[in-house]
């Protein structure tokens, strides 16, 4: 294993931590926290995948400024596509979070607790 794969692996580790929270925790808020962590992990993996190091300089964002030429961008800028995907993915994550929080407060309203262990369990 080489060091230049390490960031990916840390991203996978974060994913596993999020999955752990979802499976192991019975508190709705903790499960939501787990979902957020999973979102971070997937977005992180996507941004890592598109990164291009810029020899002798800071990473170059794929945005044309007066100091740059299109040719320089093409040669040195980081990959814009994963960024576009992450933008969409952040929005989707936010939407899911909105819905899941709505469900959680509604469940609290019904049971007076966030703990699924104290809910009247579904049959089977």
């Amino acid at each position: 294993m080489t060091l230049d794969m390490l960031p990916y692996l840390l991203g996978f580790l974060l994913l596993v931590i999020g999955v752990y929270a979802i499976i192991a925790k019975r508190n709705l808020i903790k499960v939501i926290v787990g979902l957020l962590v999973i979102d971070y992990a997937t977005n992180l993996l996507l941004i890592l995948v598109g990164y291009r190091s810029n020899t002798g300089g800071a990473p170059m964002a794929p945005i044309l400024t007066p100091q740059l030429t299109p040719a320089q961008i093409a040669r040195h800028a980081v990959d814009p596509l994963p960024q576009a995907l992450i933008l969409t993915s952040i929005v989707i994550g936010l939407s899911v979070t909105a819905l899941v929080v709505a469900l959680a407060i509604r469940l609290y309203d019904r049971y007076g607790t966030f703990d699924t262990g104290r809910f009247r369990n579904l049959r089977g």
Binding site: V37, Y40, L94, A102, A104
Partner: protein
């Protein structure tokens, strides 16, 4: 190095968020993890994402903190049975171990994981490999990048005239995805409204539901 430190911070922060005792500290820790992610975005050349991540994180935090501080709950410590959790974690652990090993074993294959910092974007292929038969010849004559990300970087500007390449992709090349994304927001909002209705069922229907 800074990146690795931030990644470590994210991992530790997530663990703290999951294992800490109070719900409020849990929510705040996960907020810190989100802000660390936005710093990573900035560090890796994605200012658009950094801005978006920060504002989204603030909104999520405001909502979650409001939800948590207005509701009393002392049950944060409960967990599921160790056996089930253990077996699932074992399976996932094996998967990640394979991932470690698989990603590391980069030989001379074409279908290998590209190392961090030098993505496929840097490799070139003959123009014929990218273009379909009979299509227009790309601007850069003989060779083109092997990934479509590279193609966007090379050809994006003349074709969209958007100085921000990411927006060019989001709204033009992949505008259809963005329509889907806008739909997702709408769906979630309609869904939240639907779930938060005070009265879901019409009680004066012919029969009470028996549950």
């Amino acid at each position: 190095m800074l990146l690795l430190a931030l990644l470590g911070f994210m991992i530790i922060g997530s663990l703290v968020a999951i294992e800490t005792r109070g719900l409020l500290s849990s929510v705040i820790s996960v907020g810190a993890v989100g802000f660390a992610l936005s710093v990573i975005f900035l560090l890796l050349g994605a200012p658009d994402l950094a801005i978006t991540q920060v504002v989204v994180e603030i909104l999520v935090l405001v909502v979650l903190v409001r939800v948590v501080i207005t509701r009393r709950d002392e049950t944060y410590a409960t967990s599921r049975s160790t056996l089930a959790v253990g077996s699932v974690l074992l399976a996932l652990g094996i998967l990640v171990a394979v991932a470690f090993w698989a990603l590391g074993s980069s030989g001379g294959e074409e279908l290998r994981m590209r190392p961090f910092g030098s993505p496929l974007l840097e490799e070139q292929a003959p123009a014929s490999a990218m273009a379909p038969a009979g299509a227009k010849v790309p601007l850069a004559a003989e060779t083109v990048p092997r990934s479509i990300g590279g193609a966007y970087l090379e050809r994006g500007l003349p074709r969209t005239h958007a100085a921000n390449y990411v927006m060019g992709i989001v709204l033009d090349y992949r505008g259809y995805d963005t329509l889907g994304e806008a739909t997702v927001i709408l769906v979630a909002i309609l869904g939240a409204f639907a779930v938060l209705r005070q009265v879901g069922r019409n009680r004066h229907a012919r029969h009470e539901p028996d549950r």
